[in-house]
Symmetry: C2
Subunit: 313 residues, 2 copies
Amino acid sequence: MRIGIDLGGMTIKAGLVTEDGKILHKDAVPTEAQRHYTEILADMAKLAIKVCEDAGYRMDEITSVGIGSPGSCDAKNGVLVYANNINFHNVPVRTEIQKYINKPVYLENDANVAAYAEYRLGGKEMECFIAVTLGTGVGGGIIMNGKIFSGHNGAGGELGHMVIKKDGKPCSCGRKGCWEAYASATALIAQTKNAILDHKESVMNDIIGGDIDKVDGKTAFDAAKQGDEAAIEVVKKYTEYVGVGIANLINIFQPEKIVIGGGISNQGNYLLNLIKEYCTFEVYSGAKIGGIDIEIAQLGNDAGIIGAALLNE
Amino acid sequence: MRIGIDLGGMTIKAGLVTEDGKILHKDAVPTEAQRHYTEILADMAKLAIKVCEDAGYRMDEITSVGIGSPGSCDAKNGVLVYANNINFHNVPVRTEIQKYINKPVYLENDANVAAYAEYRLGGKEMECFIAVTLGTGVGGGIIMNGKIFSGHNGAGGELGHMVIKKDGKPCSCGRKGCWEAYASATALIAQTKNAILDHKESVMNDIIGGDIDKVDGKTAFDAAKQGDEAAIEVVKKYTEYVGVGIANLINIFQPEKIVIGGGISNQGNYLLNLIKEYCTFEVYSGAKIGGIDIEIAQLGNDAGIIGAALLNE
């Protein structure tokens, strides 16, 4: 039995997870991210212990504790090097957690951890597997030969910060034209709002009851499925933005599989088919997209807990 | 002792190479690429045998024959899946060569082979090493844990066909806005010609003696070093195009080292410093470019022969 902890900017989630990646019990507490790291990490350890006890297990039945965290992690030393949304700099996460729980503690970036969960539960060994998350930002995780790949400093796999449009839209990272600035849910919402302002007659306007602040990542998809032309155009352009990055990743990695997660992935096959159609014409000649599985991620919000729990040496 | 063969669209080169990557003797014959593959492969085998004999070695002193080829290779089966400039489709290269030389025959994409040579002669083990070639196109090779990484179908590592400017300049691959369409020597030459047409007063015009067909990959660099403003602008923009792709690769891979080869890399530190300067502001926050070595490739045109010779299981 293992414990997985998903540290987020708003919420700390922890779960008791079986060796084959099933969550038996989970719980959550607020992060209150403005606090000192020792307090946050103490709450993480306490939540882990509580989850174990509430499920009727003893701590000596626990093999390891894994943590998925935002930012750049030094996995080897269990140190969170840098995360901007929880203001951690060179925080010795492993050492702190081990003050409360005397077990092996593993730490990895949250997008990498989610990718690892999707890979492990896919149940098939692959040389290269990539997970892309279309959420507030665009996250990425690369699994090479069954191991998380994050480069020499743990900061690799930042797929969302690949520029796809040089001198394009400013990105939160400081670059201009990042994939994230076009393919995140945040970007889709902005694209949807612009289209509504330009097309007052659009069904999108009815869906949001005329309140522009009610636009979300579903608005354009819902209206497009009703045949609304302005919405169809938003969805077409958005999926091209997603697709151009996916095609880049294919030309670079030719992975066995790419899974797409995050809020936008709730659009399922509707989204997937548009992306595949676009990529078919964007993948380097001579190679074929046919050999690559592009799928929707399966684990949703639980991927963080499950992937963290499954972390090992 | 090993033999390395570099199959090009114009020339077949072969070399006798020591176990530690030194070329003892090399020779070349024209490819005459319009011929049937059996003829071309027969010439490759004959050249390999000749190189060995001319250097005073017997074939039974040869451990293996390695081949670097354009296009997508199925390295496992020794099959050239597809190459557009020599019109090979599913050619059984290993089997054909072994009709003449009864040795292990290894086959890999030429950009991957060149990257492998640079990696091996770097003499240091790394988790991730990337070579980028700024030539007629933009080539790429990824070495992971000492092995060539080329994806599930051998077609990976096509770094030049990463879109950096969606809906931008058409690329030979069919996409629009590929890195290659902006950062290749071919692209630089087009950028230089445009600047000369716009700036008749430029030193670049003197360098080419007013003959626009004499523009090459050095023209803008030579004039920029003389302080010519139009040329400085060309070089600045070109190195930004190179840099945006390098920064993408850093955000994705965080490799230990990136080497830059190809004709443009003859500009050495002048080029390197401009690229580094640009990348410093383009790399994902929290990570630092300081930990990554960005260097000029060392082996020049010999990388193909050396890398091919060093190929192994």
